[in-house]
Amino acid sequence: MAKRAAPDVNAGSMADIAFLLLIFFLVTTTIASDIGINRKLPPKVEITDPPPIKRKNLFEVVINHKNALLVEDEPMEIGDLRAATIAFLDNNGNGNCDYCKGSKDVNQSSHPSKAVIAVKNSRETSFSTFIAVQNELIGAYNTLRDREAIRLYGESFQSITQQWKDADDDSNEKLVLKQKRDAIKAMFPEKISESETDEGR
């Protein structure tokens, strides 16, 4: 009697099963991404003698409980905040900032390194508005830093930062990039303070 070969298992549906699993994982996957706005809180030590800040060097952004903005005592829409911040930082009131292109208004910030932005919010301000304001302020700094980075090094501040992050530790390249980055940061140091108003208490 002829020997009969064992019949092959039909593997045709294997692809279907695999597809099913694949689609399950595709749907459930959220590629983990932790992005956000980095901030540093002020340390908890009582400063007995705070350094004086001239009123003209202070850019005050107040957000009230209705999420409306008051910038330098004038109501403002969130869309205009970035341009206003750039105008304030880049103002060059003293006339000794050779990379500034501002209007040299004597009643506004004298030098980018002296300019301080104060964000004040009420307890009822919503978090999304607060983040939107923070975002616009950082956007203003990034715009100015990009401008100087392109003028000096021919590439944007973002791309320098990215390269610096990607470079190998202790490599010469990383050191050079860090120097570039620090130079740009020193031109427009980020000085944003956060505080709460007493409104509604």
């Binding site: 593997a11 294997m14 692809a15 695999a18 597809f19 699993l21 694949l22 994982f25 595709l26 459930t28 996957t29 959220t30 590629i31 983990a32 991404s33 932790d34 992005i35 956000g36 706005i37 980095n38 901030r39 540093k40 809180l41 002020p42 340390p43 908890k44 969130i78 869309g79 919010n121 009420s122 307890r123 009822e124 301000t125 919503s126 978090f127 999304s128 607060f130 983040i131 939107a132 923070q134 975002n135 616009e136 950082i138 956007g139 990034n142 992050k165 956060e194 709460e196």
Partner: protein, 160 residues
């Protein structure tokens, strides 16, 4: 009548699909590896706000998450006021953040304490009052590096 059939009648051989499962399995394994299951069960609403001037957080191990928002569906017994969630439990007293920070510092080890970042995953409709309290508690234990977690998008658009 010829003995050999010429050309014409020959059909194209079917493309073999035998390797299709292999390809699909490859994709499958990629997604299985890339998938991160959520570590904590969220008991609160957590719709993050949008921002586009963001930085990426690396070094996953030195991040601790502090969640805040209104109690989600199924947890309404905790009330309707926004609450803070640490790990798996909802916290009614923000002072518990101090113990939470200490616990995390012990976990990461002494050498990396300085690189520990507190990521605040806060629902966009939360009032800033609660966040102010959280920040105050973090300052109390000298945890000064914080990060406001956001999604990538333009925040100035309406309906956001």
């Amino acid at each position: 009548m010829s003995k050999f059939k010429k050309g014409g009648g020959k059909e194209l051989p079917a493309i073999s699909t035998a390797s299709l499962p292999d390809i699909v399995f490859m994709l499958l394994f990629f997604f299985m590896v890339a998938t991160v299951m959520r570590q904590n069960t969220l008991q609160i609403e957590n719709k993050l706000p949008y921002a586009d001037q963001v930085e990426k957080l690396d070094k996953k191990s030195s991040i601790m998450y502090i969640y805040a928002g209104k109690p989600g569906p199924g947890y309404k017994k905790f009330g309707t006021e926004a609450k803070v969630q640490l790990d798996d439990k909802m916290v009614s007293n923000v002072a518990e953040i101090q113990a939470f920070v200490q616990e995390n510092r012990n976990k990461v080890g002494e050498t990396r304490v300085g690189r520990l970042i507190a990521a605040l995953k806060v629902d966009k409709n939360t009032n800033m009052g609660l966040i102010g309290d959280v920040k105050e508690q973090l300052r109390e234990v000298n945890q000064l590096k914080i990060n406001y977690a956001t999604l990538n998008g333009d925040p100035t658009k309406k309906n956001r």
